[in-house]
């Protein structure tokens, strides 16, 4: 008879949260299915249009991921190796900003740089896969780099000492010191980028040049909006979910969790030579160019607009306050849930229940790809008639943003959490240190940096979220991105450009503030 596995202490809370998160994502799908009445046709392989859409979705998402993540390794490495680089903190903050840029602003920014009248005109060559890739690299290269920097910073100083004693070349040091550390975060970061690109919508349609560039997300939107065919929307959403779940579990298998010795501390001195310095310098400059030019184009556009007039409108400040409120609410919820899930997964992993730990982390992460329109419509179906949804719109937006932000929290917390558990788990147990004491003495000091990063990422994401749910229900007061859209849809392009800059500035402030308050002032290696 098989031995029944012992329950792992401290893993229940995370499992409960993960189950709740899964239920929150599955419920609206079930509601749509119930609405459809009949069981929809799951034979997607019989549908030539869908197959083409699926093929294109995977192609563009795969290519975008490769082009974002491979250079991001160089950038993350350069930043991790140079803790004393002047302006490093601002650079790290700037790299969080693209996440907040609404897709329409990014598209107009890309056009301002690479369009016919742009700084680096590509002409018609912009439209097609090329344009999609440019925009996706702008969004995701910085994100991927941000997600990988902490893992590289975790390399113990002792390992670098050893590498130098063995006279490693920079390449050998990368191969034997940095690469194993990267493998803790790389698969997760790549998966995150892949999911973001897979569900990319306006960017793909607009820069893709035509209906050849249609993604699954567009097909879902079409089936739920113009056709109001909930059954078909469910089938498509499930295809997308299944695809990402498979990839997520595969990524989890490739993730290398290291249980390194307790670090003796001290500042790490990396293996270095002039070539390595040049490569690092070039990587940082290239990253600045990718992120900087598009952001600069957006800022230049806004600075030329009616800045004073827009800043004098009360609705701008109300929208700003509402967006900040939503961002902070979602951040609180999301980091709390993500912490519990990651902590439970870490305990499971250290009790040699790695598969279960992976499953927990994966559940928290893949719910991201359930389209917000599906979630919104599903909950509307479930709740209308019971609750006046127009009155709790803000709460719903916060909840949905918290759900959307969860994978970002898990991706930045989970690798560090597992390492901490491997290093200090037993020690804490033997000292009988639990609950608040443990959080205060061990967990928070060791995890405050990844926690700060995840809070900053969720805040940025929610701050820039248009709130599809809010569009479905009455918003009452517009969020900042919605205000921007309102300006744009009323010909007021110049006013919209000013709002875009306010949005960027607000995001940067929020990002740096959260990372500093939670993550601590010092960014140097521990």
């Amino acid at each position: 008879m098989a031995r029944r596995p012992e329950p792992v202490a401290g893993s229940t809370s995370g499992a409960v949260i993960a189950a709740a998160v899964a239920a929150l994502a599955i419920l609206p799908i079930a509601a749509l299915l119930a609405r459809a009445g009949t069981l929809p046709d799951f034979a997607v392989w019989n549908d030539a249009y869908l197959l083409r859409v699926l093929r294109f979705s995977l192609l563009q998402a795969g290519a975008s991921t490769l082009l974002s993540v491979a250079p991001a390794i160089l950038v993350a490495r350069a930043l991790a190796r140079r803790p004393n680089l002047p302006g490093r903190r601002l650079l790290l903050g700037l790299m969080g900003v693209p996440l907040v840029v609404p897709s329409i602003v990014a598209v107009l920014g890309v056009v301002a740089v690479f369009g016919a009248d742009g700084w680096m005109p590509l002409g018609r060559g912009l439209y097609g896969l090329q344009g999609i890739l440019i925009a996706h690299v702008f969004f995701n290269l910085p994100l991927a780099a941000r997600l990988m920097v902490p893992s590289l910073e975790q390399v113990p100083a002792a390992q670098w000492r050893l590498a130098r004693q063995l006279n490693f070349s920079p390449w050998q040091a990368f191969r034997h010191v940095e690469w194993p550390a990267l493998r803790g975060a790389l698969p997760g970061a790549a998966l995150m980028v892949f999911m973001l690109c897979l569900t990319s919508f306006a960017v793909v349609l607009t820069l893709g040049g035509g209906p050849r560039s249609t993604t699954l997300e567009v097909a879902i939107y079409q089936s739920l909006r113009f056709d109001f065919d909930p059954g078909r929307a469910v089938v498509l959403a499930l295809v997308q979910l299944a695809l990402c779940a498979i990839l997520a579990l595969a990524a989890a298998r490739f993730t290398l969790h290291r249980a390194s010795e307790i670090d003796s501390g001290g500042i790490a001195t990396v293996v270095d030579n002039p070539t390595a310095r040049a490569l690092d310098g070039a990587s940082i400059v290239a990253a600045l160019l990718v992120v900087g030019t598009v952001l600069a184009a957006i800022v230049v556009d806004g600075a030329g607009g009616p800045v004073a007039e827009v800043l004098a409108t009360a609705s701008l400040w109300r929208s700003l306050a509402l967006s900040a409120f939503i961002a902070l609410g979602a951040t609180t919820l999301s980091t709390a849930a993500g912490w519990l899930i990651a902590a439970s997964a870490a305990r499971l992993a250290s009790a040699r229940r790695g598969r279960l730990a992976d499953l927990l982390e994966t559940t928290g992460a893949v719910v991201y790809v359930v389209p917000p329109l599906v979630i919104g419509t599903g909950y509307f179906l479930l709740l209308h008639g019971h609750i006046d949804l127009d009155r709790i719109t803000v709460a719903v937006v916060i909840a949905v943003n918290a759900l959307t932000g969860l994978p970002f929290v898990i991706r930045s917390l989970a690798p560090a959490m597992r390492q901490r558990e491997a290093e200090y788990g037993r020690l804490c147990l033997s000292l009988g240190m639990v609950g608040r004491d443990r959080f205060r003495v061990v967990d928070f000091p060791l995890l405050r940096r990844p926690l700060g990063l995840s809070a900053a990422l969720v805040a940025a994401l929610s701050f820039g979220d248009l709130g599809v749910v809010a569009l479905f229900a009455g918003a009452g007061q517009a969020t900042l991105p919605l205000l921007l859209y309102q300006y744009l849809s009323a010909y007021r392009v110049d006013e919209a450009a000013v709002v875009a800059v306010v949005l960027l500035a607000g995001c940067l402030a929020l990002f740096v503030l959260l990372e500093r308050c939670i993550g601590g002032a010092r960014m140097t290696a521990r």
């Binding site: 050849r212 509402l322 127009d390 479905f472």
Partner: protein
């Protein structure tokens, strides 16, 4: 933690008008500060001495979907913002009550006979261009489609956008069974197909293409709000496709009398005079000579093209598939 949760709940702003006498579902740009919403709301409130609430949803399609979900339990009394491409489907839900209003005196370019929906404004789709960048725009849809050296265009996706669907119907009206061929012929000059109007128009203003699919009234915005006379709409020989925006009363409304009063109010000068410079469309019940001067210079299409709404409802899916096939090569 519990204190924090309480704080979060306490801070959630609730809309004030919980017990409005009349709830109107409309689209978001109608309710924005510079849209018709605020003026219209104030005018009707002082007229009825009651409180009305405008709930802004994404767009006309979202309005219809929300009604389909809510059915007879909808919180709305009036729905304002459907257009002639959606009326057949909206009528078939059976959720609307006849309007009972005399619509004989409208200023629409077509005869209005619908007994469920009342039109409040209308407009024509058109390709807009900057006269400084394009001296000789095509004179017809045929020329736009056939001339290999003609100007590039920015258009919208009929799967996600109202003007995009408008162009699809325009092409169908002009070319009939040859529409797919016409799309293929135009295809090399389509710079890109955007999700919505805002992306395409924003890109046009950044000079990504000399022409953009918009409305004949777009130049009036630039002339009035920006005092910029450079923009014009190309006048096509085949005529232009018409879009009429309508409102209707829900049969489930608690106060259909007040709801009908609102529809009647829609056709008064007080409402109609707000439309031209907020929604940038033609008011449905106001004669042309009462419009701002900039509207005199606009293209006045002839003939006016419009499919019966039942035909649109029945054929839309097949026509979109045809479009997809033609442009996906």
């Amino acid at each position: 933690m519990r204190r924090l949760a309480a704080l979060v709940i306490a801070l959630i702003p609730l809309p004030a008008a919980a017990d409005a006498a009349l709830t109107v579902y409309t689209y978001d740009s109608f309710t924005s500060d510079w849209g018709p919403g605020p003026k219209v709301e104030a005018a009707f409130e002082s007229r009825c001495g009651c409180d009305i609430e405008l709930v802004g949803l994404a767009d006309g399609v979202t309005l219809l979907n929300r009604l389909k979900i809510e059915g007879t339990e909808s919180g709305a009394d009036v729905v304002l913002g459907l257009d002639t491409n959606l009326t057949a489907e909206a009528r078939s839900t059976g959720l609307f009550a006849p309007h009972g209003i005399d619509v004989g005196g409208l200023a629409l370019p077509v005869q209005w006979t619908d007994d469920v929906f009342v039109p409040y404004d209308y407009g024509y789709f058109a390709f807009v261009y900057n006269t400084e960048h394009l001296a000789e725009p095509p004179a017809s849809l045929r020329e736009l489609v056939d001339n290999e050296d003609g100007p590039d265009v920015l258009i919208q996706d009929p799967r996600t956008s109202t003007p995009g669907l408008g162009l699809l119907l325009w092409m169908k009206k002009a070319f009939g069974d040859d529409a797919a061929e016409a799309w293929r012929s135009l295809s090399p000059r389509i710079v890109t197909v955007t999700q919505g109007w805002s992306e395409a128009y924003g890109m046009f203003l950044k000079n990504e293409a000399p022409m953009v699919l918009s409305y004949t009234t777009s130049p009036a915005y630039h002339a009035i709000a920006e005092e910029d006379d450079r923009f014009a709409a190309a006048d096509f020989e085949e005529g232009h496709y018409l879009q009429i925006e309508v409102a209707g009363v829900l049969a489930s409304s608690d106060d259909t009398t007040l709801a009908r009063e609102f529809l009647a109010f829609m056709l008064t000068d007080e409402f109609q005079s707000v439309i031209p410079t907020t929604n940038w469309m033609y008011p449905a019940a106001m004669q042309r000579d009462a419009l701002p001067d900039a509207f005199d210079d606009l293209v006045d299409p002839s003939p006016v093209l419009l499919f019966d709404d039942e035909i649109v409802a029945a054929s839309r899916r097949a026509w979109i598939d045809e479009w997809l096939g033609a442009l996906s090569r």
